[in-house]
Symmetry: C2
Subunit: 166 residues, 2 copies
Amino acid sequence: MPSSRLDEIDRKILAELQADGRMTNVELASRVGISAPPCLRRVRTLEEQGYIRGYHADVDARELGFEVQVYAMVGLQSQAEADLSAFEERCRNWPLVRECHMLNGEVDFILKCVAPDLSTFQRFLTEELTAADNVGSVKTSLVIRGAKDEPGVPFDVLEERLNRSA
Amino acid sequence: MPSSRLDEIDRKILAELQADGRMTNVELASRVGISAPPCLRRVRTLEEQGYIRGYHADVDARELGFEVQVYAMVGLQSQAEADLSAFEERCRNWPLVRECHMLNGEVDFILKCVAPDLSTFQRFLTEELTAADNVGSVKTSLVIRGAKDEPGVPFDVLEERLNRSA
DNA sequence: GTGATGACGAAATATTATTGCGCAAGCTAG
DNA sequence: CTAGCTTGCGCAATAATATTTCGTCATCAC
């Protein structure tokens, strides 16, 4: 089992690759202040240890014709673990559902959905989601516009925190 | 102005890079069935035209100590455009807020937040978010667990749709 | 001390990215 | 129908990167 705690260089690597996942290893190495070979070794290790789950191009959904984005709040009738899992599995199989998170509070799940147009979404909503087994309530909200969309880790907060405890 | 409609190869490129943003151009070219140089030219064009907004490593926030993820539903007191914009700008400056989307319906905004622990989030919630100018109501829900998290475009749906209209 | 361990970096090699052409297909005007 | 233009492909050469190899140094346990 690897010791696995990260040093400052590892954190810099993660921050840089989160900001630009296609940066060359040479550029990355120079930014974090070491030479290319150890830098690449660190990246591989971070990938293997799961700190980096993958790399993805950020594709503009609207440009591709997915004009509609919706958040759906879903309440189930039964919250037994088997029923929760079953619903999660169904979400994984619905391509229009891009995210599904289980929440505490009045609502059981929040879903982020996309669709080419409203009628496609409405059809999905009425024929699939609302109609699905064990689904009690569904409340949807259209996304009017996005103001910030930077999933990931706020590395500046992380560094502050480490400096304080140091 | 570029003609800008995408052909099947472009869509395949986008799908592949969305799935693996660090794929080499050689590998990508072979997957989409053309040679490397035109493939690279297409990628550059897609970037320039905004179909690809960027590339990002998907970093595991929990592994880095951000144990808490929260959705916050925010209602404002005034929905005048200037006030909406002001709130959005504030969200962009809060590092714990990773996403901010304006919604229709009862709630004005949904925010996705992360924090190292509950007390850090509570402090942010009470001292920053709830206390901010023009903020009326805030309801928060902790993410218990994530079941699906694949932001992006469902290219299979897109292809189906194009085949139908063809 | 001294041998084991881990990580670095220079140098060599293997892969990729990128550039520079030439060619062919599709279009258009005459 | 055909010259001339446009667009996009791919080969081949070149420039950059990635990756491997290996020698060195610091640390640490004994």
